[in-house]
């Protein structure tokens, strides 16, 4: 890693002293709503979490649960979007290294983007520009934030391509994205996002488009790079296997809200939300003996325009009638502490969940 530290563009620090959190990244009550003709789409509806440097947070959920919208929200990519006439409505707080991003000047956030926080997208073919060579794109990403000449930036790009395992980086730097295979494109994307040595890396489904053998290579690479650079990583995926490989903490999203959050070990071994049980039960697993049947979650994910009242999961939950007084259909459950650093949003009492998990769910998994 070269020591071309963050000396390039001067970053003026806006003064924001009030209640700055101690965590490296803290998201408080983030809401991202999109007004549409059919109604308000509440993609993210009150999400809070923290992340420390050197740690990995895995965000899991089905499509439409608000995973990607959250990541774009942190990167500040919503408000500037010019798609359609109406902008996203964002509220809440995002604290990155002592700075609140949502209320900050967009120019300031732009300077952070790519430099303090970077993103790896799902589909590298559409995330890379087809008209420019890989090298030009990485060099640009570097020179936006560092005042160096093209030669230095190119050397840095070759070095990054080498680091992510592209063979003959000094030659391949002049290739176009279409000349790369899927795995190599994703490596190039990772090189580009890490070229400025960001402290926060968001990987949105980084391996979904890749084959399983290439996926293994990329996951290894992300893990190694994180150890080397000590960045905070948010990995967004629907694949519990990928999350288990990489994450220290796991956040399970459903209907735009976090329904369970905790250390990876806890979420996999002592999950406390019926939806997490459902996810674990619907996955065929290679590391276990063959089970006769999978235990799917019935029904389909909710529409984000008409989120079911009460607990968003209640129409699909087999235990919706366990709590008394129909409370699951009327009151939205808040996250409650269910263990050390472990939260779940469910109306069932601790004992009820404990009993159902140990007696009914765990033996079938």
């Amino acid at each position: 890693m070269t020591e071309l530290s963050k000396s390039g563009a001067a970053v003026s620090e806006p003064v924001k002293a009030s209640q700055a959190p101690s965590a490296f990244l803290e998201v408080r009550d983030l809401k991202v709503h999109f007004p549409t003709d059919d109604g308000l789409v509440k993609s993210v509806d009150g999400l809070s979490f923290t992340l420390e440097k050197g740690k990995t947070l895995g965000i899991v959920g089905e499509s439409g649960s608000g995973k990607s919208v959250t990541s774009l929200g942190i990167m500040g990519l919503h408000t500037t979007g010019q798609y359609g006439k109406r902008k996203a409505q964002i509220s809440g707080e995002i604290w990155l290294d002592g700075t609140e991003l949502l209320s900050a000047d967009p120019d300031y956030v732009r300077k952070l983007r790519g430099r303090e926080m970077a993103m790896i997208f799902q589909d590298p073919l559409s995330a890379l520009h087809p008209y420019y060579t890989i090298g030009q794109q990485i060099v640009e990403a570097y020179r936006v934030h560092h005042k160096v000449d093209k030669k230095v930036a190119r050397r840095r790009a070759v070095e990054m391509l080498d680091r992510v395992g592209i063979p003959q980086p000094d030659k391949r730097i002049d290739s176009y994205p279409h000349e790369f295979s899927g795995g190599m494109r994703q490596r190039a994307m990772i090189a580009m996002s890490l070229v400025n040595n960001p402290e926060l890396l968001i990987a949105d489904e980084p391996t979904t488009a890749l084959d399983v053998t290439v996926q293994a290579q990329i996951l290894d690479l992300i893990r190694d790079l994180q150890q080397e650079f000590g960045s905070a990583v948010i990995i967004i995926t629907h694949d519990l296997g990928v999350v288990a490989e990489l994450s220290d903490d796991i956040l399970v999203m459903y209907g735009g809200r976090c329904i369970e959050r905790g250390p990876a070990e806890k979420v996999f071994y002592e999950p406390r939300h019926p939806y997490t049980w459902g996810l674990l039960g619907s996955m065929p697993r290679l590391d276990r003996e063959q089970t006769e049947r999978l235990i799917p979650v019935k029904g389909s994910p909710p529409s984000l325009i008409n989120i079911p009242s009460g607990c968003a999961f209640n129409p699909r939950c087999p235990y919706a009638d366990v709590p008394k007084d129909n409370v699951t259909r009327t009151v939205r459950p808040e996250l409650t502490v269910v263990g050390s650093q472990h939260w779940a949003a469910c109306h069932m009492t601790h004992e009820q969940r404990e009993r159902i998990w140990t007696e009914e769910i765990a033996p079938k998994l």
Binding site: S63, H238, D239, E245, E265, G278, M283, L286, L294, P301
Partner: protein
Amino acid sequence: MAIPAQSDGVATLTKGAAPGETLLKVTGLQKHFPIRKGLLQRQVGAVRAVDGIDFEVKSGETLGVVGESGCGKSTMGRLITRLLEPTAGKVEFEGKDITHLSVAGMRPMRRDVQMIFQDPYSSLNPRHTIGTIVSAPFKLQGVMPEGGVKKEVQRLLSVVGLNPEHYNRYPHEFSGGQRQRIGIARALALNPKMVVADEPVSALDVSIQAQVVNLLDDLQQELGLTYVIIAHDLSVVRHVSDRIAVMYLGKIVELADRESLYKAPMHPYTKALMSAVPIPDPRRRSAKSERILLKGDVPSPISPPSGCRFHTRCWKATQICTTVEPPLLELKPGQQVACHHPENFEDQAPQDTVLLTAAKEAAELVADEVLAESAATSAAVAAEVAAATEAPAAKESPAVSKEAPAVSKEAPAAAEAPAKDTPAEEQPAKE
């Protein structure tokens, strides 16, 4: 749920094969897509998507086909349903050669072989109602089901778990999982014998995936269907299949019963593929060393590597692998493998021990324990075989390695891995 007998032309057709009988037989199947260039559109090469595969599908079973993208598994599916015409080879369905049947000739077969497609969004016509979509097979085949088309379609919809009253709705009104169910209902309309499903669940969310997998399971039990399920997800394939074919660059490299394949894979590629699947268990993360990382990417099917196609990425490749293509042999009952140096079994080419340079590089990505373990199991199997047949080959090994009295060449691989920093690792081939 019992299927009412279809009192139409179908019933007069030949009775379906009894369970266990060969339903589909494929021999030497090839599909080369020509690459044409220039003004005269002369053929300058070919993409060898499927390049000589043999297998059988027995009635009532599920054959799973796995492989990375570009290995030819989807092309294979389209060949056996005759959506594509093979370049060479033979496809027999119920003993009848259907390889080069014309469109009209295929039509009677079409009711017996149906397909479920990957993408439930593009495989349903957005301008047709569900009723039209599911009743299309009846119209095309000129079949009039008992009680009328509408009643039959509604019955099919309820079989796949949809509300029969949704007969008049359009595809956009349904979610991905529901659309996949519509595709399944359409495939089942004519009471087929074999269903080819190309990635039936890969476009669906995890919780929905499980619903569709269970549905396919139930339908097979109720209707006695035969499935060929093509997928890239090894855990899904294991869950649904009785036998599994692993494809690599247009070839089947291993074809085995589910149990044998997942307990003791014999082809190095199968082993690598299975070890690459992320295990949803955070406690296993430290056990990263079990993983076999393959280097590089799949070579191009336009000019596949000579000999064994996997030799460019294999950590066990020797000279013979570059020149002689290993045949698909039944090494254990119910387990066919195409490899000169299989895992968990006696080496097929024990005289060839010098690893290729590429293989040494590949072996560096494989943890020493994995190599040692593989050498040990191979040695054990080899020793068993040697003891049984008193093969003279067993005596030659001490020159190669002291760790494992192996006939196999994994022994040098194991010996090489810990000592790879020291030079002069070229073991002389023992003669």
